[in-house]
């Protein structure tokens, strides 16, 4: 009785594992194509489609109210609000000069350089507008943070939503891959050739992930 019920649960799990595989694949299809195509463009910067023009529009000046806020981020957010500019705040490499607030606001479609003279209450703004195709490519790497730059944090809501989408895609792919291992293993006639394919993939990938650590470089 118990074994029949276990078989029933097993069959349900197997059915749902199979369904989940193509349900996730269908939901994420366009995201998979986006990251695949833009991944190719990132790896081939010489392709005509990979080029990102960076010609800025003529700069303009605006009078602003003295930005409020206790931190540079709060002040920059206030300046951006006054100027009607949105995006992820990106700080220049150099430290801020006294009496100035210089920062960039970026998102895939547009990069904006904002230079504020606090004494004169004047902001100089220069923007680079990008084509849809360039923005499409930039979206691959747009996360508002860099692991090797701990000072850089996400501060725009749309970046956070985009990062959730990227994480969800990554999690979905992992579920699809591990689910597919189970589906394949249940197909006894396909096991031998499957093992050969999987082992070849593991060796090729493992050489880079683990092998280059020690074996090749000593």
């Amino acid at each position: 009785m118990a074994s029949r019920s276990n078989r029933g649960i097993g069959a349900v799990l197997e059915t749902w594992n199979r369904k989940l595989h193509y349900y996730l694949g269908l939901y994420f299809l366009l995201f998979i194509w986006l990251f695949s195509l833009t991944g190719l463009l990132l790896n081939h910067p010489r392709w005509a489609l990979s080029r990102i023009p960076n010609e800025p529009n003529p700069p303009y000046e605006r009078t602003i109210e003295l930005p409020s806020g206790a931190t540079d981020v709060a002040r920059a957010t206030d300046v951006a609000r006054q100027l009607g500019v949105s995006g992820e705040i990106d700080w220049p490499q150099t430290t801020q000069t006294l009496g100035r607030l210089d920062f960039n606001m970026t998102y895939p479609k547009r990069a904006t350089q904002i230079r504020v003279d606090l004494a004169r209450k004047r902001a100089t703004v220069q923007q680079v507008d990008r084509s849809f195709w360039s923005a499409f490519r930039i979206s691959h790497t747009f996360s508002g943070s860099r692991y090797n730059n701990p000072g850089m944090t996400r501060d725009w809501w749309l970046t956070s939503v985009w990062v959730v989408a990227m994480d969800a895609l990554a999690a979905g792919l992992l579920v699809m891959v591990f689910g597919s291992y189970y589906m394949w293993y249940r197909l006894k006639p396909k096991r031998t050739l499957g093992w050969i394919a999987l082992t070849a993939g593991c060796v090729a990938c493992g050489l880079f992930v683990f092998g280059l650590h020690s074996v090749i470089s000593g």
Binding site: Y23, L29, W33, L42, A135, A197, A200, G201
Partner: protein, 212 residues
């Protein structure tokens, strides 16, 4: 009759290719997917080097201070080899005033900076060993869009470029064959189209915010 058997054979071939090519590419997909979490959320103090060492009597190849691009990298390789560092050379920075060369070198598991004093013929090598996820993230970003003329100056970067491209082509193939295999299951068409539409709405909505 002949048409039906051709269709069946095509279906079987597509299903088998989807399975076997999917199994082959799956470790790469795991690597790319797992590194997304690291790239999006991790914080690493890259300033903390694991070890530093100074090498003396380093042979400086003539012309390295004036060489440009790939030629400079090839000359820098002779210095990097002398101090026992292997990997992809990021670039060669010449600081003429101080008669110094700064050569960053990286590979999975290691980030090194070779700082050469040309007049003293010494090289200070600082190394930072990276963890597994950072190594996979390095591969995720390699070769990348920057310094296209220099990229691939290490054999294994060139090989990885092929594998990374191959991963993309296989993923595209597998997603296309997956679509075909799903369409063959008539009972799943309605819910499948609903999920495709839901994915398309999320995709267009996000892209609208970022790219328009």
């Amino acid at each position: 009759m002949a048409k039906a058997s051709t269709e069946k054979a095509f279906y079987r071939w597509t299903r088998d290719l989807h399975l076997y090519l999917g199994l082959f590419v799956s470790p790469f997909v795991i690597a790319f997917a797992a590194s997304v979490f690291f790239l999006n959320h991790a914080r690493v103090d890259v300033g903390a080097s694991t070890s530093t060492a100074t090498f003396r009597d380093v042979t400086i190849p003539p012309g390295i201070e004036t060489a440009r691009g790939r030629e400079a990298v090839d000359l820098a390789r002779t210095i990097v080899n002398q101090v026992g560092v292997t990997g992809e050379i990021g670039f060669v920075r010449v600081i003429r005033k101080e008669q110094r060369l700064v050569i960053p070198v990286s590979r999975p598991g290691l980030e090194a900076i070779v700082d050469v004093d040309v007049s003293m013929r010494t090289a200070a090598v600082s190394r930072r060993l990276t963890g597994l996820l950072e190594s996979v993230s390095y591969l995720h970003k390699t070769p990348g869009p920057h310094n296209a003329d220099l990229r691939g100056n290490w054999l294994w970067t060139r090989v990885w470029r092929w594998l990374a491209d191959g991963t993309v082509y296989l993923v595209l193939f597998i997603s296309a064959t997956g679509l075909y295999l799903w369409l063959a299951i008539k009972a799943e068409r309605r819910i499948g189209f609903a999920l495709l539409a839901a994915g398309a709405v999320s995709f267009v909505g996000l892209l609208y915010g970022l790219a328009f």
